[in-house]
Symmetry: C3
Subunit: 668 residues, 3 copies
């Protein structure tokens, strides 16, 4: 058990490797070069089912044993993926029921990835059979240290006969009676009441006019299906490989997936990180990347792995992205570490010459001639290895948390509120504003305990229950600051509107009620402060009645000009801010600076565009990561002079960083 | 019978109410508040099938009786909707053949609205059974005054087996023989000739390459299906409720629906009116709204009801609209009355807290706390009730009619003529130009008699028959003015091009023929008058040969520069104008001013943008409605000083109206 | 056999005629007017199956005999189309398996065109039966001179059961064993290995994530299906009509179709030419038209026919185009002849009054009153007939060839390389640059011999084999110039990436290797010459290592600023240029001027926009066609003074042409 934890938290570099795709004559020379390059870990086998079980029940593990032997020989650890993401041809032929069906009844055909229904009986039988064999067999191999379940879970919006039946059972379990279903979903509207269980089906056809309570429950059912699908895999692996860790490679937020439910049984989370290489994305990309990394750390509230890290232009079924600029590969790997990644595994060793992913480029191009990108990666490996001992075991401590919720995301997608209003994009705005002030923050599930934080930012908690309202109230009462926004407390957990003045259960702590609202969408409005400074706002304008709160900002126009737009309510020892509208970044920075001052939180004012600062702390020492994720040369003013542990040199209070430059300073 | 007529023509206010969606404890307090607010009528039950017949053959009318008793107690009249728009779950389970099928064979699944094929045998059996029960039962309740059939008919473009068979029968009845079908549709083109009736099917697959004559006939068949579906309902209601009126709530023009055929058996038409609240739509919205209202009045050529009037932002399956500006709710209700609405029923009493329509806002928000919008509505009710006696029985008399035609609309959608050319959008341009000059007009079916008018505007009568050509000729010969446009007389009623110089059967009265045409689409061209003033035109340029007509405007460019673009032909005692191109509004106003002068018609020149003027006349008195449907303060010059019956004050010849201001002046 | 050749190469005018669509009373008057107009040939019958075989096995050829007799009487030759493009209703009723199925399983319903699977057994049986009857019967008619197979072949992307089985057989024949299939397609990626032939299916569902090697082979299979479908028709016609020519009317390049394979058995190719009439397209349209014509000439590397030439605005299932400007019809017909068309057949005699093509306008409008367009056509006929003797037998000789490849096109569509990068659009850029310099060029299949050329332009030969690489090397070694571009030599013929530095097999002759690439897409970059002049480039930037080549142009920006962008490598007696990026036209003209000077090729520098120059040469005389395909008056400087054979007048060295003006000069 010690080994597992240790392995999980070593700061090290890895690559994804597909031995089955290459001539065996290349294996040893590849692995030798990995060793020389400083690679400590690889991931293998997550798409290799057809090689591991070429026909039903005939297992061939010998070739992978040879590869694992070579890794062991060169002292490189191995993470084995379970291959359930790509059921082989013999299985889809034998058991076509394994294939998902879309809402229109069409088939998710094989020949791609992810072509298995999580609820399929066949995936149970055949998937668990090979996982048992693999766990038994590879669990004993000394090179293996852990497992990845499947690959990049997403919500397969399946409507196959088994999903339809299992959904009905799920609804029965949740509600007990049809009367309760009819009540919870409000089916009386449009005469949709169920009089017999057999009428209850998956939402076929995909009409957006379907009942939103029902649609949200179908989404929840599919979320649980993913978690149960993984649960069986984890139980099997734990049984045979008790000393190995188990993780999963999440990807592409926002996902219609309950990350926390899926993450629950994992030892740690992993993420597939493909920061956008386009120059046009350089002003926002590094910040949404930061959010993804913080959100991944939030899944288990601990450090994580990157299981796939960008190594070259992605492409294939879409036009290729730009090649990463010099320094880009290195800088974004450091960004991952700076935000809590321990191991960073680059995707992939060499670009595929065959199959659908030929232009999802690896570190080495098809020609097998290492080039500029590989050189940058090799230098990065050397840097990471040099610092590994010092950084291993260090973690991030923050005073701020942003609450995120897949249920809010799903409910707000089911019923879009206003043109241009997007739950996750708004989350990005809050996170980016904090990041630009150098305020580190956690991004955690909205159901998590809030202890230890000074500030909770809770955008659009649209669905609300008493437990959460109480938790937020207690947090504020105890001295914390809470930032609430419009579209909070609108609904109960059944996705029905509450018959309360908004923000509903949060009205008391907010000290305001919403008298009316104006879904302004993309029409630009403005808010004005007491000094007359104005800021743009969009999407939504709540017209507020003060119920104890004070006005912070007023609307600058429309028929509600002069009425409160942003308020603050003293609540116990703390404060609750309410943002009636979605403002531009410059106001959010203003607001968070004010709160930081009130709460005595550290900020790094004046950070240049693209510069990100985080701190990893260990028992004795802490390390300040300063990253220039831009194409410009920048100067950063630091509170004092530190020593660079990356370059082994002292630095002044003014730090200069080249484009995509990185520094790591020991700060105590 | 007297009661029915009377009820139909009282000027009064109403709301849509869904007692089945609310806890019975709310019923009496809701109805009491309605009474206090001045509401005189409600609509109920059109989506309540699952409550009225919870399982097949078990009817439960008691709960609705209780509600009706309360309405009767508070002296509020009730319109009952037939519930066929939303067949309940037990019915779609028992008789899945009731569900429509799209052209690609996919199912119109239940859980939404409108999921019934008009031709379905099941809707006949089960729909008529509940209507019979309801008519028998509620027909006797003293609160009930009338019925609404179904809800917001649209053309369900169904391709179910029954539609396919019934279409074949319809074609057999229409044409008698396959020879005649082959001729009428011109199936010889592309070898599409039918040699056996069994080859004749609905247009499956939805290809736009299908034969246009066939596609138009399928549309006509579907139009008739709607009318027949309603016919059975009406017969049943008339049998049991001979003293009740019957109406239907039309919506969202243009509809692929034969409004006149559906309207034929109704006592009066009704409309669901949702004027656009977006500031970006404020320059066109009030005018297209005016067209919708005039078109609704034209369905029966008499006053009508609004069965659903906007009360707050719509939304749900699309991002919510803006909240109505102060005065908006009042002004657009008065606009409806000004154009012939007698009763105006607002949708809905209170926003739904459950189901798919939660964000299609009512007068009272989810919180059940009446707010600004409700106050505006309450004041409006008081105003309307105060004037009800004077306004009841008054009607609109116009000297101008615009001909509209669902057949032209459908045929022009089947074969788009030019980029940017849209039959209904062009109709809007003609109507708006007249409205801006203060020239009231009717919008009537192109097949209606034309007696009593001075000017007929007939945009793009693309399909033409001898009867219509004769009617227009006789109208002009007798002294009327006709305005024809390009794309007139192009086709016969089989949707085949005529082998005649265009405008075909209208060439003689137009006094021009089309030598050639240039589908200029979005390329901007210009027309020039004899004084050299030029106006923009688009879409289409007919190159004309004069056959008796005189040139009014010439083209300003292209190889046909200098040739006639607009002509006028003296015809008998009248005149026929021909517009070879689609011009900008400023020219249309110029043209209609000229015609108004020629025909001695009253105009209101110089109306500010957004101001609309109409006159409702009774036996003794007439009332001039002056509406400012804009966000600007305006001044309007009137021909003389009148007394405001709305405010009970004399007014000068210069009338000042605030944003969304309304006045009603007694003019004789 | 003599007659066939002769008929094929006479310069003459024709029309498409559909006697079955018109009342027989019109036939003789139509044909008389054709004769008077100077028409020498017509095409008939390609959509007339339902009239030629009204029910299965009952043939009615009498009506067409009458028409052919009239044509014979008026000395107009006839090309008969085989009617397989439109199987009649009785056939789709009797044998619904004839209908193609789309990738999602939906049906290609009848009532349109092209609704037959090329692999269908029914099209074999019933299609070949009527072709045999027609060939036997009409083959003897003296008016008939040749045949057109089917109509406008395209790749029907069919997925019917028969296609699925035949594809499996095709794969078996191509690869012999599943091991070889798995290797060639690289199915190991994503566990897609086949363990049994029955797992191998057509690419159902249409996911872009499918294996690209497999997708390319399915496309090749469909290409061969078209060719085999036509092969049977040709064999049958040759058997019964040994003296008749056989052609096919290709259309709308680029086509996902192997033009060369389909063209192989034809006597000559034909093309359906609809130059775009929109003013917005006037700067590019005439050049892409020129490419289409050159590409059609390249199918058989000999003169060709136009089987459908624009006569008025197309439209019907899309908004109509603009009417052709005065001179447009004439000028584009002459453009076709100037580039190797012998016979030009205009589509169509008279616009259809019925069916789906009513607004695909003919020479005469629906009214049957000949107008401006007809007059222009009639004058054109007179001109062509006057020059027919001199022009017949003349051909084009060029020193430049552009290689085109449907395999590259398909492979690059399967895996898009960069935003804005389009194989055929790039081909247009190269062709247009040459055309603007007055450099005539051939557009030939990439597999053709290269003898006789001085310059080969080979854009993006993405798939590469040894034979082609050798051929290009030999061509350069012998003194030719080759222009290669980025994305050359990327893949082998299995659509797998090569494990070689790019341009792979072409690296040696190019004298460069690609160290890395940047898919810049729509981001504008620049290249700079040694004098500092800069040009824009887009799409892609190869970062090049010189391996013997010299730098011609360098990149002007990004991290590879200053590195080679365009290179030239002396190779044997010749030179190989490599373009690492896609540049704007002005640079391509610069480059081609340089090569023309190096290779001593004639150019016409300073041609005004829209002016095109070609030469048709006979045994004794050559004719210089000078076309002004613009709406501006132009002046063209010629190397010496010639005599106009079109106008019978001497011309100076400065030639003035009116908008859409044409001249033809005898040059030796």
């Amino acid at each position: 058990m010690v080994r597992k934890r240790k392995q999980g938290s070593v700061v090290q570099m890895g690559v994804d490797y597909y031995p089955e795709q290459w001539d065996p004559s290349l294996w040893e020379q590849d692995i030798q070069l990995m060793k020389v390059t400083g690679i400590r870990v690889v991931r293998v086998a997550e798409f290799a089912w057809s090689r591991l079980e070429p026909t039903s029940g005939f297992f061939d593990f010998a070739w992978l044993d040879s590869v694992l032997d070579l890794f062991y020989k060169y002292d490189i650890s191995v993470v084995v993926g379970t291959p359930t993401n790509t059921p082989p041809r013999w299985l889809t032929e034998l058991r076509p029921d394994i294939l998902p069906l879309f809402a229109d009844g069409s088939v998710y055909y094989p020949g791609v990835r992810g072509h298995r229904c999580y609820n399929s009986e066949s995936v149970d039988i055949y998937g668990m059979r090979i996982i048992e064999k693999m766990a038994e067999h590879f669990g004993k191999h000394p090179a293996v240290i852990g497992w990845q379940t499947d690959n990049e879970f997403g919500m397969v919006d399946c409507h196959c006969p088994r999903c339809r039946v299992k959904f009905r059972e799920w609804v029965k379990r949740k509600y007990g009676s049809l009367e309760e279903v009819n009540r919870a979903w409000g089916t009386v509207v449009w005469s949709g009441e169920y009089s017999d269980w057999c009428q209850l089906d998956a939402p076929m056809g995909g009409s957006p006019h379907q009942n939103p309570s029902y649609l949200l429950d179908y989404t929840r059912f599919q979320w649980e299906s993913v978690a149960e699908f993984q649960h069986n895999q984890i139980e099997m692996i734990r049984k045979h490989c008790p000393r190995h860790f188990i993780t999963h490679n999440f990807h592409s937020y926002p996902q219609r997936l309950d990350l926390y439910r899926v993450g629950k049984e994992l030892d740690f989370a992993a993420f597939d990180y493909y920061p956008n290489t386009s120059p046009a994305k350089q002003s926002t990309g590094p910040y949404s990347g930061a959010l993804s990394l913080d959100a991944t750390r939030g899944i288990k509230r601990r450090n994580f792995w990157i299981m796939e890290q960008l190594s070259g232009p992605p492409g294939c079924w879409f036009p290729m992205w730009r090649t990463p600029y010099p320094g880009f590969i290195r800088a974004f790997a450091w960004q991952a570490i700076a935000r809590g990644a321990d191991t960073v595994v680059h995707f992939r060793w060499r670009s595929a010459v065959a199959g659908a992913e030929q232009f999802w480029h690896g570190l080495i191009d098809h020609s097998n001639v290492p080039g500029r990108k590989f050189e940058e990666f090799a230098a990065l490996c050397a840097e990471v290895n040099a610092l590994s001992k010092r950084l291993s075991g260090t973690v991030l401590h923050h005073e701020v948390a942003i609450l995120q919720s897949h249920e809010q995301l799903a409910a707000l997608e089911i019923q879009p509120q206003a043109e241009g209003m997007n739950y996750y994009e708004n989350l990005k705005d809050y996170h980016r504003s904090l990041t630009k002030l150098g305020i580190g923050c956690d991004v955690i599930d909205w159901k998590e305990p809030l202890d230890g934080y000074k500030l909770i930012v809770a955008p659009s908690l649209y669905l609300m229950d008493e437990e959460t309202a109480d938790r937020l109230e207690r947090f504020a009462a105890a001295g914390g600051t809470v930032v609430l926004t419009s579209r909070s407390g609108v609904k109960n957990m059944d996705n029905q509107c509450v018959m309360l003045p908004l923000p509903g259960l949060l009205a008391q702590c907010a000290g305001v009620t919403v008298a009316e609202y104006d879904p302004v969408g993309d029409d630009v409005h403005e808010i004005v402060d007491l000094q007359g400074r104005s800021y743009k706002c969009r999407q939504w304008c709540d017209i507020l009645s003060l119920r104890g709160a004070e006005t912070v900002m007023r609307y600058g126009g429309d028929f509600y000009a002069g009425t409160p737009a942003v308020t603050v309510n003293p609540f116990g020892k703390g404060r609750v801010y309410y943002l009636g509208t979605h403002t531009e970044e410059s106001y959010l920075k203003e607001l968070f600076s004010r709160i930081a001052a009130e709460q005595d939180m550290k900020t790094f004012p004046g950070l240049p565009e693209g510069v990100q600062i985080t701190i990893r702390s260990g028992k004795d020492k802490s390390f300040l990561f300063v990253l220039n994720l831009s194409r410009e040369m920048v100067k950063i003013s630091l509170p004092e002079a530190y020593v660079s542990v990356l370059y082994g040199e002292p630095r002044g209070v003014e730090l200069e960083l080249e484009p995509y430059g990185v520094d790591i300073l020991e700060i105590d």
